[in-house]
Every structure is written in C-alpha cells, then in structure tokens.
C-alpha cells in the first residue's frame, strides 16, 4: 500500500474523514503528512500564527488556554477523528489555544499556507472540505454552549 492509500485508509476510520469524498481524501492525503507527537509535545501555541491544520488519527491532544493566576486550563480534548488548528484555513489566523499531545499521538498535518492555496485554486477540494470543517466547528460550538451552562454546579 503506498503512503497516500495508507493515509486515506486511516482517514476513513475517523469521524471527520469518513464522509469526505474519495477525491477530497486523496487531495488531503497528498497535501499533508502523517506526524507523530510525544506526550507534552506542543503542536500549536496559543496566540501564535496558526500554521497547521490537522486531523487526529490516534492518541489524544489537549486544547489549553492560559488563564491569568490559574495557569493553563484544558478546555477540550481532541479525540481521534476530530480536527485541530482549523483556524489555519483562515489567512493570517492566530491559534486560539495551545495544542499539546497528552498521549503518543498521530495526525495528518497540512501546512496552513499550502492548504489555503489549494482551497483557493481547487474548488472541488474547497466544496468538499469547507462543509466538514464547518460541521466540526459547529460541534464544538454546541459543546461549548453546554459547558457554558456549567451543568454540574
């Protein structure tokens, strides 16, 4: 199995990737590369330019934000199948949180600039990827609303 086929196979097992059209999966696989992260390895830093878009294939990442006097707080864990660094799709975007691996993890990572250029020139890719990213963001928004309710107090 060549590398692309192996990446596509991994994508197919994710929530995010399984409903993408085969050609979109293929393009994403060719644009990105599989990266491994050690526990506590920082992938993106809050406030810095969001340079990478990723789809987590295995392991777990934590999205952390710094709260003055409380230090870093984990506000969400990224589970296999979910995305991180989605703001890299936007030009000159900054990362909203720090992305840290909490377990040995593997992800398909695409350079933000490369992805933006591809989305601009390849309407098929844009039409396939944007709705899925929007769904991922909407899921987070819904979850954040529930978290805002602070149900357990």
């Amino acid at each position: 199995m060549d590398e692309n086929a192996s990446v596509i196979s991994m994508l197919d097992h994710t929530w995010f990737g399984s409903e993408l059209a085969p050609e979109t999966q293929e393009k994403l696989a060719s644009l990105g590369s599989i990266m491994s992260f050690r526990p506590e390895e920082v992938i993106l830093q809050e406030g810095e330019e969001s340079i990478e878009f990723g789809i987590l294939l295995s392991g777990r990442l934590a999205l952390r934000t710094l709260v003055p006097e409380r230090g870093p707080v984990t506000i969400l864990s990224v589970e296999p199948g979910d995305v991180f660094g989605w703001s890299a799709i936007l030009p000159e975007a900054t990362a909203h949180s720090t992305v840290v691996a909490t377990e040995p993890s593997k992800a398909l990572v695409i350079d933000g600039m490369t992805l933006r250029a591809a989305l601009k020139s390849d309407h098929g890719l844009a039409a396939g990827l944007y709705p899925r990213v929007l769904q991922a963001v909407a899921r987070r928004l819904r979850a954040t609303r529930l978290q805002l309710l602070d149900l357990f107090t």
Partner: protein, 659 residues
Amino acid sequence: MISDSIPRPASAARQLFLARSDFDALIGALRASGRTVIGPTIRDGAIVYDEIESAAMLPAGMGDEQSAGRYRLTDRGDGLLFGYTVGPTSWKRFTFPPQLNIAEARRAGGVAFDQPPVEVPQLAFLGVRACEIAALAVQDRVFLGGQFTDEDFRARRKAALVVAVQCTTYSSTCFCSSMGTGPAVRGGYDILLTEIEDGFVVQVGSPSGAAIVTQLPTRKPTHAETGAAIDSVEAVRAGLGEPLPMAGVDERLKQQLENPHWGVVADRCVECGNCTMACPTCFCTASVERSDMEGRLSVTERVWDSCFDVNFARVAGGDFRGRPRDRYRQWLTHKFSSWMDQFGSFGCVGCGRCIAWCPVAIDVREELEAIAPVVPPVERPVAVEPAAASPGAFSLARLASVKEETVDTTTLTLMDLDPAFLAARPGQFVMVALPGFPTVPISISRIGTTSIELSIRAVGATSTALTSLHPGSRLGLRGPLGTFWPIEDAYGRHAVVVAGGVGLAPLRGLVEALIASRDRFESVTLYYGARTPEDRLFRDDLARWTTIKAIDVAVTVDRAGVDWKGRVGVVTALFDMMTQDCSRVTAYVVGPERMMQASVQSLIAKGVPPDRICVSMERHMECGIGLCGHCQTGRFFVCKDGPVFRLSELGDLYVREGL
C-alpha cells in the same frame, strides 16, 4: 343468511340425522326454495366453490394436503363428502364479487350518474366452515358496521342461506383455533352439518334453516352418532395443537414497525397478491372506468385490488409505500393490528389460504413469530415494604464510617439498619432525618449485605450537617422509597449508563448490578461526565471498573488542569464513541436536569428507543411517601411514582418548563 335475530346454537334435543344417501334431498330442498346452491366441487385440481346441482358434484372421498406453498388433492378412500379443508376460493366471491358495476354515467345533453339497482341472486352456501363463518362476520363489520355501508353486500348476505359444515379434518396450514374462530362452528348458520360415518348430524340455526330441514328424510340420531359428531370436531381441535400466542400481537406489531425482518420477508415475497385474493376477509377494491367509444356511457366497475399492488398507495407526488417491505408490512399489520383498531377484531380468521397459495411459501405464522414474538414475561422484582413508612416515623441507623469523595460530596456508610434498607434496589432513595433539620431525600449509592451507603453533596443545611457527622452518630431513615432501575429492560441488549456529576450516586448500585449479571447483557458501558477531574465521584470504583472487562468506562470533564490526561468536553461528546446498534441500547441517565435533557436528545438522535431510556428525576420532597405534595409533577408524585421513570412514561412531562 343475515337475519334479524342471531342464530343460536342448536341444542342436542334439536339434532337430527340425515343419511349420506339422502344428501340429494337437502340440495333438492335448497334448490326448490328458489336458491342456487353454491358448494364445493373439483375444478383445475382444487376444490372450489361453484354451483352444485346434485350431490354427485361434491368431491366425495376426496381430501387435500396443504402446506406452505403447496396444495394437492388426495383420494381418501372413503365416501365422505366434506373430508377436506378450505380451497382457494372463499365465500366473499359470492357476497363481495370480484367485479361489480357500481355506477353508470351518461352524457346526453348533460351529465347523469346512476347507480344500478341492487339485484342479487338467492343463494345457498353449502359447506361453510367455522373460519369462513368468522370471515363473513369480519366482512359484516367492515361493510355494515360503520357510518357508511355497502348495500350490495348487505343484500347478498341477506339472500344467502348458510349451510355450515363442521371440520372433521385439518391441514398444516389451518390455525383457526389460534384466531379463536374454530374448529367448531358456534353460530352464524341456518343449518349445521357434522359428517360422520354414514351421514350427517344436522342442527338447525334459523327459521329459514328449519323450513328446509323439515322437508328432509331425517330421524333422531343415536347417542353413538351424536357422540361421534362431537368427537370428530374435538379430534380436529386436538390435532391443531397448541394455539399460537395471538393475544397482544396487535400491540406487539405496533412496536415492530422498523424491524429489519420486514426486509427479509419482502425479499422473498413476489408481490403476486395471491394472499389477498385468497383471503376471505381482504376487502380492498379499485374502481375501473369503462366507456363506450363515443364516451356517452361509462361504467364504473369495482374490482378486487391488493395492497401488494405497486400503485396501491401512489399519489401524484409519489408512492407512500414505495418499497416491497412497506407493502408487506401494510398487509400484515392491517390483518393483525390496525384491523383491531378499526373493526374490533383481527382481520385474519386462520383459514391458512394465504399460506397454501403463496407461491414462495411464506407462512404468516412464521413471519409473526419472527417480527413480533412473544416476549417472555420478565420477572420484575417487587420493591421491599419500606421501614417507617408514615409521616414522622423514622428508623434509626448508625453511621459507621465517613469518606470524603470530593470537596463537597461525602459518602456515609450506615449500619445497624432495619432489614428493609438492605433489601433496597438500585435507584431507590431514603428520607434522612437529623434532629433540628428538615428531612431530605438521599439516593442510596451502594447496597451491601450489612450496610448501605449514602453519597451526599453539601448544598443545604441538612446535607451540610449530614456530611459533618462523625462515625457513631445516629440518624433517622425512612425507606427504601421510590421506583428502581428496571435492569431487566436491558436483558439481551446493550446497557448504557450515563451519569453527570453527583448523578453517579444513584447509578453506582445499578453499575454494580449490571457487572454482577454481565452475561445477561450484550455489553455494559458507563459514560460519566464531571465538572473537573477533582469532582469525579467514586474514583476508586472508576479505576477498578476501568480495568475489568465486564464494563467499558469513558470519563470526561468539562475543564481540567495540565495534569489531567483524560478527555475534556461535555458528556454527550462521549456518545461519539458508541459503536453499538443503538436500537438495541437501553440507557439509564442521571445528572443535572439540563445535562439529562442534552444526553437524552443525543441518545434519541443516535437511535436509542425512547421507551428504552430511563431517567431519575430530582424534585423537592419532604415526606417521600406521596403525602406532602411537594414533588408532584403532572400526574406523578416523583417520590412514589418515581424517581426512576422510563422516558415513555413521562411523555410530555419530561423537562417541561414550569412543572
């Protein structure tokens, strides 16, 4: 024959004997009364109903062998005239003809619509079986029992004299005893015949029948002859075997509209419609317009139709029953479920024609068993009689130990208890009293052999006082109270426990019970959400459950520090992990009301049936025994009707604002 008075079963005193050699006298008398006699005769390798002019036309000595998709005539080697069961035709052919002109329209200087006059033949039905009498009665209810009636049918029924015949044989396709329609004829006849060795025991059921029978060369039967008549019918009843469990099948089918087996049987069904044509009760028709070449006269023909026809439910915008499985489901659920709602009886009489005449041998009895089997009654445990079950009464207990679970939640272990508390069920609660404090309801978080545990979050005066007690303290208890988790709802299914925050307390006993009888469930899963890692209850138990195979545990917290390596996110996000067939999930949910609502919505969206979701409701309670009125929610007192409810029981009371 429909008469103004319902024919009564004839008494033994009115029984007569007619020799088989004199049977032509009966046919002659029926014909002499101006009736055309319709009875069984052989045509095209089957026994069908057609005009009979003499006994010689009856299938003397013939029998039949029937099974799914199979019908064969046999030579019995005797002279019995009715030694077979039912063939492909039914009497509806004569009361409800396959084709009937019901209207004429003319264009001649205008438009005129006319109904042809109702003109029906005087018929005598010879050889009507018990199931067929029941079928005629079913169609009576369809055509004559409602606001709108079919007068052609009424006229044909009134004009038909019914000569019934007791079944003295049966086929493998017969199931009249299951449908409560046979094998014995109980009424609905003018003359009833039971065929024995040399002739017939004759009973009269109406004045019209009596007028015929008086003309026959009958005599009083011997005791041996009447005994033989009774025995022959009873032998059929015994031969049919244990009746199928039809009681409640109408309701069971309503619960199975999405059963995948509809697709399985539809894959076999060729949609020929034979079952509906052979069925003695199916009554669907289509209107066919036929006009002359100039369009001056058009006739509306009513013809038998079948719900298996691909166009049967089609409208301009599409087809409401577009798939074969939809059409098979329509037919079966009408016969055995919605017919009951519409007409007060099943639409099936158990004659078995649909089984024998199905070209692919679909047996409706097997399909019912596959789609809506009888669920063996589950033994539901009964709640123990509570101790101190009156206002102001409490049973003393000793606080044996105290364990701090979280910064605000403490588990008290109580001993020296009334035995009733040790017989509590997971999900039940107790009312806890301390002198000088309001009584509070606390769910039981563990039921041991000598102790129970209460896990209490310090949020008010009593709960704060309770969590400050030292071992050796005494406190008052009433209980155990309320409903408990219906663990049997998950037998053979995937048990999913969803807990939020302190909601794990009333679920801990359930989790332990699920683990203890793990073999009874397909899988057991706990999804637990807490505010922070430090707010997780029962961390020792969670750690232990995580390491055993009997249960899958997934925990998430709303927020965490950097030390927490587990999931962060709302509890509903855990449902993304569900790989179970959600239609086979039974879920037990407890947490803050808004969290339960979000969880229930997500579970239903994933396909968990609402009647398989149980929740525990928290309400203000002062007595716990339904007397103070505080916890009333709609038609329920949550303390005694709950706190555990199936979602389907709560209906629109669930998370209804202001209730």
